[in-house]
Symmetry: C4
Subunit: 211 residues, 4 copies
């Protein structure tokens, strides 16, 4: 099983999922009630959720590539873990659509929607963590992480997951606070430059020769 086709298939899924996000950006059109401006204004949570989910998928794709290009050997376990990761990636347009649909209600349903939104990101984060854990064992990386960095890296991963878990718990009380937490996390990931962050072994913004 070559790494290149694992990447090609994953890239395809990432590309389709990120593009399908925009399918939920629809307006009722001239037959609907209200002017186009009104319809768009009502839809602002859909646009915001689109933006957040777009960059979330983008960040996962960047990290996925940074990690997988280090992999020396592909086996069925990695393929399966990768499928689980993609399973959650593919669910992002669905969870984004639910948030967009229910956001302006600010009732219990909105909070359930936010829990699902956070839950899909939590699942994705867990699957990515499992792939990372897989890379730590055996001689599976070209440049293996030194053993003394395993636990710090794991702690960082669990912290990432804890943010999504916090967003889920906070959604029980406030959908807005939960949404803000996930939005801030997305912005943080986009601008994050920590060279030592897992999957960012290409040294943050250091430039890398093309491979």
């Amino acid at each position: 099983m070559g790494r290149s086709r694992l990447e090609a298939f994953s890239d395809g899924v990432f590309a389709v999922a990120i593009t399908l996000l925009a399918l939920d950006l629809t307006v009722a059109g001239p037959e609907g009630t209200g002017s186009l401006t009104d319809q768009l204004q009502e839809k602002w949570p859909a646009f915001l959720a689109y933006l957040i989910s777009f960059f979330m998928i983008g960040v996962i794709w960047v990290n996925h590539h940074a990690l997988i290009r280090q992999v020396t050997k592909v086996n069925r376990t990695l393929l399966f873990l990768n499928l689980v990761l993609l399973l959650f990636v593919v669910l992002i347009p669905f969870s984004t659509a639910i948030v967009a649909d229910y956001f302006s209600r600010h009732n219990w349903d909105t909070r359930v929607a936010m829990m699902i939104y956070g839950g899909v990101f939590l699942g994705m984060s867990a699957a990515f963590g499992a792939i990372f854990e897989w890379t730590l064992h055996g001689e599976r990386m070209y440049q293996p992480l030194p053993p003394e960095q395993h636990w710090p890296a794991r702690v960082r991963f669990v912290s990432g997951g804890l943010i999504y878990l916090a967003a889920i718990v906070i959604a029980l009380v406030s959908d807005v606070a939960s949404f803000v937490l996930i939005a801030v996390t997305a912005v943080y990931y986009v601008f994050e430059r920590t060279p030592s962050s897992p999957g960012a072994s290409d040294g943050g913004d250091e430039e890398q020769p093309v491979t």
Copy 2:
């Protein structure tokens, strides 16, 4: 006709089909009847069918790659057989949506839906078997299967197809039993490690150098 573009096209179709699966995961939204939780609970067969079909497509993709990377020569017959395989892969979101729509009814329509669901997997299995058969003749593989393993491999393939045939026949009597059989088959394929299984010539969970 290069193998690489056959793989690229097939990967694209697999990636789009696996992502389109999630398009059927929709809820009626705030305008629909019932809370979001109710709507999601009613939709559980859709989620379960999504999960099964997702891993089915994932497994086919893994096996497709394991088989095609062994192919030394691409001809029009292989391209045609591959198209037939993709024809059934592309039908999976459709058959999954039908099962999801009719599952909770438990009437004759549900059984018809299960027969279609099993039928699409049967067609896919037959097309994959035909590609495998094609690889057995001529010098079409880098590491051809020894002749004495041809019949055992064929028997395994026919067995796989017989499971889907059984699921179709069982659906005449019980849609639930048919669904459980296909679900168990999906789980089996995901966790299967048999190194000698056709298309799994990369040795189950043995690690393989990246090519």
Copy 3:
């Protein structure tokens, strides 16, 4: 402009278009009128049109690849001609859906639908012919077609286009006859082995080493 990315982009469009075909295969579901079997039976033109369009896109993809892999130099004219080809490929799911919607009516609208269906294939055929014509000039092919074969090849191309033109004209009188003509053409292309057919320079069913 590398050929590899031209192929990658084209493969992506072919893969998405062939998969989107199946999006039109929907049934009204339990809320619709009639049993699932009835709904599926009513939909048979959709399934037949899906089948024909699927293999048409498949055949174009095969021929596209066979032609493009021979190209030594990529310029803006080729990119533009390729975009025009893809424009028609992307229209195939649309024209297929129209035929599927109107086929069982057998009225003037059905004939208009068939004219659109044939028209999209005609446009595609013309665009492919233009790409082929482009390859005949300059030193644009690794194995250029000998000059004495230029006119026979052009005649074959125009013949192909004439079939679609005939299908459009016949649709003025009989939608069924037009549909049968296109269906027969699709079957012919799938099983065609003519080694000298343009774009099939890989010798029909002769086996080719993997490149």
Copy 4:
């Protein structure tokens, strides 16, 4: 972070976005009011908008490739800028659908629709300009643009953006004039041969060896 996977992911997004454009080309079908010919005639703005957006995405894809293949080093800033570009590419089917829906109204909503249509192209143009600006600094290109050409190139880029800005401003007064301006721009870009245009360093229609 290899350039090849940046290209693969971007190609996937371009391919899906260009194919999704056609999803908006639907007719009400036999249940709708009016004959198929009437329905198609009413839909002509959708077809025209489809055509324009198709070639716009095609042109961006060509320019994107011409620019990225020159890049020697990929860093997180480029990945982020590329994501922003793709964000606008993915919005094109949405803005195209809005124009198609509102075009025949010729009221304020149509002008808002045209402003959104122009706005998405403006955003895309700005993101592409930012990527181009990024390539000017450090040793990021195999064949860096000579310093004395930096400002002329920037002026050309800003001019391109100014056209979209003009289309947005003109839309305040006339939706038709705004639409014509964007249509003319699309046609211009398709037939443009300026060898010195940024991202067209492959020399307009000069033929390039395949890489």
